[in-house]
């Protein structure tokens, strides 16, 4: 493999029903950093049916070139047509780096691509940077978040990684940014299209994306009952905050899964993370420790949550929240 022939930082842009997902904009933001360190360009791979009008949005967020495949075969995400389209682009354009969101789409497509392209893929990276040798250093948690590992892919290209939503930050859109839009035609091999999509069902009418919230009040086992939750909801309303929860509270059915923070839930980094009755299992900490300011209230002064908290209160979370709500209302 002629490594030096591979250039450019490519982002697979995820769109669902024509809406570009935030994670893709976050990746384009990160791609700018990497591309500048490499002195290369940022390419956005936009796949779908009737999606070409999204190209300008990608340029405004930092892409230099948008490679657009607008084809009826790509109307809905399915592994094989999407794999064929991305592989075609990789073979034509030879990227040095290819990033995908670590979503149910990116984590389905990424490994299929890595096997087809015979290159490495590093999942769920929390940090991406360029080394002095101009290689991509990919840092990710392992052992349930207990250990961090920095991975390199020296002799294969593209260097592929997935990143979870909320980990990187998107750039503020600049509508005056200029970029190039290239329409790409893919010669599909339809004999390989063996999975059929029968239907796609949305389960939640009221979707909340806690990773977008500025303030999160997060409840743990210690607040896991209806009375405590109503206090939390009251304070959330006063502070204009969203409510999130640890796994225990979600498993108990008190809070829906889309509000779960942690290794098996979402990664969040709000301005304020108020952890109430959360002891702070490693899996939970992995999902919130990057928050700007962390306040924790817990009865147990040895609770691990206090190791990451900027401000810790040892005490009864229920009583403290009641006081807090009362004072905030004034």
């Amino acid at each position: 493999m002629e490594i030096s022939a591979y250039k450019g930082v490519f982002v697979f842009v995820e769109q669902r029903k024509g809406n570009v997902q935030n994670v893709s904009l976050e990746l384009i933001g990160k791609a700018r950093d990497l591309a500048e360190a490499l002195n290369e360009k940022v390419y956005a791979i936009l796949l779908g049916a009737n999606v070409s009008d999204k190209a300008n949005q990608l340029i405004a967020h930092g892409a230099d070139v948008v490679l657009c495949v607008d084809a009826p075969e790509l109307a809905d995400y399915l592994t094989e047509p999407y794999s064929q389209a991305v592989c075609h682009i990789v073979n034509e354009y030879k990227p040095s780096i290819l990033m995908l969101g670590a979503t149910t789409i990116g984590r389905d497509l990424g490994p299929r691509l890595s096997a087809r392209l015979q290159t490495g893929l590093t999942a769920d990276c929390t940090k991406l940077e360029i080394s002095e040798e101009k290689e991509l250093l990919m840092t990710r948690p392992a052992f349930g978040g207990n250990l961090m590992a920095t991975i390199v892919c020296k002799e294969h290209r593209p260097q592929m990684s997935t990143v979870r939503p909320g980990v990187m930050r998107s750039l503020v859109a600049d509508p005056s940014r200029k970029g190039e839009i290239i329409n790409v035609t893919v010669p599909f091999n339809k004999d390989k299209f063996r999975v059929k999509l029968l239907s796609s069902v949305k389960e939640k009418s009221e979707m909340v994306d806690i990773s977008e919230a500025k303030i999160l009040i997060s409840c743990g086992r210690g607040m896991g009952n209806a009375e405590c939750l109503s206090i939390v909801n009251g304070l959330a309303e006063t502070l204009n905050a969203q409510v999130s929860a640890s796994r225990a509270v979600v498993d108990a059915g008190l809070v829906s899964h889309d509000r779960q923070v942690g290794q098996t839930g979402k990664t969040v980094r709000p301005d304020l993370y108020l952890a109430v009755g959360i002891s702070g299992a490693i899996q939970h900490l992995a999902g919130m420790e990057e928050s700007d300011y962390i306040v924790a209230i817990n009865k147990d002064k040895h609770a691990p949550i206090f190791q990451v908290a900027d401000l810790g209160i040892v005490g009864d979370a229920k009583l403290v929240l009641k006081q807090l709500t009362e004072r905030m209302k004034k």
């Binding site: 978040g145 999975v195 990451v308 005490g315």
Partner: protein, 260 residues
């Protein structure tokens, strides 16, 4: 109907603790288990066995002690167990692992190949789809439920972020199963006793016909550059005061930080 289930022996990461002063892992005494997603996949296979009289083979790649998870699978009710083990496989990343497993799977006849979505020690969710690609089979990941028509067609519920998709595919195909999809059955007492007399087939490099350059550390495009503990963040301020005073402290801090 023939089903193969890929399982992995993993340390129970929920039992791993961190030494708070040094920030290093405490690995001693951490039990090994069947990876939860894989175990749900095993349960799916056994339900298809109950319903359609499917023949279930289980395969794991790992060191010799990974035989334990195969015995456990026997005790749950599988028909055949294969341990894929060889020094040549050591140090494999996901791609090299998938090449070794795909090599073994080429020797087996199946209508459905089941893997877990991801293993709790790595959380990559990569090996299942990579195997599917090597074997040129269709894949459906994040399986929440599966229906089989008794002939060759599978209807699969795939869980996604804000809902689910219903997908249809004919066997042979690869599915990756979520741990919440099927509650694994318990081992039965007779099964546990008998599992020790059942044969665990040992396969190695000689059995799989895969180019050595694709296996183990040599065949791994990714390398660990460095590994480190998360480190210990400098402790913040900790107050042990009554609720009223606590509320006051929180409010003044949040004002100081311009959060409220």
């Amino acid at each position: 109907m023939n089903i193969v289930v890929c399982i992995k022996q993993v340390p129970d990461t929920t039992e791993i603790k961190i030494n708070p002063t040094t920030g290093t892992l405490i690995r001693e005494g951490v039990p090994s288990i069947i990876n939860p997603d894989d175990k749900a996949g095993l349960e799916l296979a056994l339900r298809l066995k109950d319903q359609f009289n499917a023949h279930v083979t289980v395969i794991t790649m790992g060191p010799t002690q990974a035989e334990d998870v195969l015995r456990e699978a026997y005790a749950m009710g599988v028909d055949r167990a294969i341990l894929l083990t060889d020094r040549k496989f050591a140090g494999a990343d996901t791609l090299a692992t998938s090449h070794a497993l795909a090599g073994a799977l080429r020797k087996l006849d199946f209508d459905l190949l089941i893997t877990g979505r991801q293993a709790i020690d790595g959380d990559t969710a990569q090996v299942g789809p990579q195997i599917a690609e090597h074997l040129d089979l269709p894949q459906v990941s994040y399986l929440q439920h599966l229906e089989f028509d008794g002939k060759k067609t599978f209807t699969i519920k795939r869980k996604i972020e804000d809902g689910y998709e219903m997908l249809q595919v004919d066997g042979p195909c690869v599915v990756t199963v979520l741990s919440g999809a099927y509650k694994p059955r318990y081992m039965n007492v007779r099964g546990v006793v008998e599992s020790y007399s059942r044969e665990v087939e040992i396969w190695g490099f000689a059995q799989i016909e895969v180019d050595e350059s694709k296996l183990g550390l040599v065949g791994s495009p990714t390398r660990v550059h460095k590994a480190f503990s998360r480190g210990v963040k400098a402790a913040g301020e900790l107050y042990e005061v009554d609720a009223n005073e606590a509320a006051g402290i929180i409010i003044s801090k949040l004002k100081e930080k311009f959060i409220i």
